[in-house]
């Protein structure tokens, strides 16, 4: 019960102290709208990137058998427990202008990631992709391999098996993983501010704007926090609905 109060009280405080009357003014502020739009775009892009890169990796982790697999799995989940700021520093050392890979990106292609919107997406993908991988891998491991084999023996091509058997089997997890990944990307702070910097319009996402506004305009910071809270609740609601439906059609 104390634990429940501990978790809930800060959120209630946020609601109680929210500047309800000034809310519309804060939310129509162009800098706030810019940050919100940037956050939604970057989190969505990071989720797409995570799907493209993460699902094949999840498949390998779930289905492949080779020495070092356990180590690989541990490494993949490392960003889950790594402090995001450390992730940001690591990204800077890898993709920064002086970075291990970044210096070649710069000198060969003229591409520099820090302080750009793609840099934000890279930071968010780094932090959020493991959520998708872990979720999808779990579903793949627990899904019945026999069903895929049965489909294959009945003459289905690999693509058909994937499309008609594997995907429907892991569908709910794929969606749940994507939503978790998206929510984590949306809330990303540490890696973003470290790797991508903080500039309105290009790299200042909502969490950065909240942090920034807390110093200049605490009321606006509370209002922005409220927006992120609403998004979080919506995500939870969406996930719950999906789980229930997932249960109805095994």
């Amino acid at each position: 019960m104390v634990g429940f109060a501990f978790l809930l009280l800060p959120l209630i405080a946020l609601l109680v102290r929210a500047p309800w009357r000034g809310l519309s003014k804060v939310l129509s502020d162009s800098q706030v709208l810019t940050a919100l739009r940037l956050s939604l775009e970057c989190a969505s892009a990071a989720t797409v990137a995570s799907l493209v890169l993460g699902v094949p990796l999840a498949w390998v982790l779930a289905r492949a058998r080779f020495p070092g697999l356990a180590l690989l799995r541990a490494l993949v989940t490392l960003p889950l427990v790594l402090p995001p700021v450390v992730g940001g520093v690591a990204l800077l050392l890898a993709f920064g202008r002086n970075g291990v890979l970044g210096r070649y990106l710069d000198s060969w292609f003229g591409v520099t990631l820090p302080f750009t919107t793609p840099g934000v997406i890279v930071a968010e993908t780094f932090v959020a992709m493991p959520f998708l991988i872990v979720t999808v891998e779990g579903a793949l491991r627990s899904s019945d391999l026999g069903l895929e084999e049965a489909a294959a023996t009945l003459g289905a091509s690999r693509l058909t098996v994937y499309r008609r058997v594997t995907l429907p089997l892991i569908g709910p997890s794929l969606l749940a993983g994507s939503v978790l990944c998206w929510a984590r990307a949306l809330g990303e702070f540490g890696a973003t501010i470290t790797f991508a910097g903080n500039y309105p319009g290009t790299t200042q996402t909502m969490p950065l704007a909240v942090y920034n506004k807390l110093e200049t305009d605490p009321q606006a910071a509370v209002a922005l926090s409220l927006v992120l809270l609403v998004v979080a609740v919506a995500v939870l609601a969406a996930l719950r609905g999906r789980w229930l439906r997932g249960g109805a059609t095994p």
């Binding site: 427990v81 202008r97 002086n98 872990v134 910097g197």
Partner: protein, 275 residues
């Protein structure tokens, strides 16, 4: 069949999600400026329990990092048994933390404005200006942007890091640009002057606007390009013993030490000017 497992995995991920959230919140708290302060506390062998007798907690502007570490060591040497706990950050951040009740005994701000915030909120009754600082352009040693003068910062394609507009170094930089009648579009607005300097040290930007004292403290890691005196701007640093200080006597003594000839000598040697 697979569903309970799926839910368990999702739940696990959700726990990890909240954990990850925790760490990013921690970053946004006072601890963002803690590593320098923390390490100095550790080297002083002081206990980490806040504000009992014997520990003076000092909140100081990021630009005071090097000098205040030295001053703290000297102060500890002069007062055996006393340990100084330092917390560095943007003056605007520190002022806000003090107003929210952070347990500080002394506040040293890089701008009278942020000190006034604390005084207005009843955190201090009066302050004394103890040094003055001016700006300089910091570039990486290789000077990739070929910057030789202030006007070069207005060129397109040059990557510049500035402090956020509410942070003193951001305020002073804006005054310098207005004196020079140039418009500068930075790529990032950093939380405090040390993180602006770090972006230059890492060679991620072509230039940053920092204090002369930061350039000097960075040694060979950055190159300083002086700003002509008629275009430069300065900021005064006020210091105050805080009214709610848990260690009031310690706070007074530390302020007195900073204002003493010995304290001033440390600051002047680092490039600070008399107020």
């Amino acid at each position: 069949m697979y569903r309970p497992r799926t839910v368990a995995v999702v739940a696990l991920a959700a726990v990890a999600l909240s954990l990850a959230g925790c760490s990013s919140i921690k970053k946004s708290g006072p601890s963002s400026a803690n590593p320098p302060g923390g390490s100095s506390t550790a080297s002083a062998g002081g206990s980490t329990t806040p504000a009992v007798s014997g520990t003076v907690t000092v909140f100081a502007a990021a630009s005071l990092t090097g000098t205040f570490k030295t001053l703290a060591k000297q102060f500890e040497a002069a007062h055996p048994g006393v340990s100084v706990k330092l917390n560095f950050g943007a003056s605007s951040t520190l002022a806000q933390q003090i107003d929210q009740g952070a347990p500080a005994d002394v506040f040293a701000s890089a701008s009278p404005k942020n000190m006034q915030q604390v005084i207005d909120a009843g955190g201090a009754s009066a302050s004394t200006n103890f040094v003055k600082n001016i700006l300089e352009i910091a570039v990486p040693p290789s000077n990739p942007g070929h910057i030789t003068a202030l006007a070069d910062l207005a060129k397109s394609g040059i990557k510049i890091a500035l402090c956020q507009p509410q942070v003193p170094c951001g305020v002073v930089a804006a005054r310098v640009f207005s004196n020079a009648k140039i418009t500068v579009k930075p790529v990032t607005l950093e939380q405090d002057v040390k993180s602006t300097l770090t972006k230059v040290e890492l060679n991620e930007v072509d230039a940053g606007m920092v204090y002369v004292t930061d350039v000097r403290a960075a040694g060979s890691k950055v190159k300083g390009i002086p700003i002509p005196a008629n275009l430069n701007a300065s900021t005064e640093y006020p210091i105050a013993a805080l009214r709610k200080a848990g260690n009031s006597a310690g706070a007074q003594a530390f302020v007195a030490y900073v204002l003493s000839p010995a304290g001033q000598a440390v600051l002047t040697a680092a490039g600070f000017e008399q107020p």
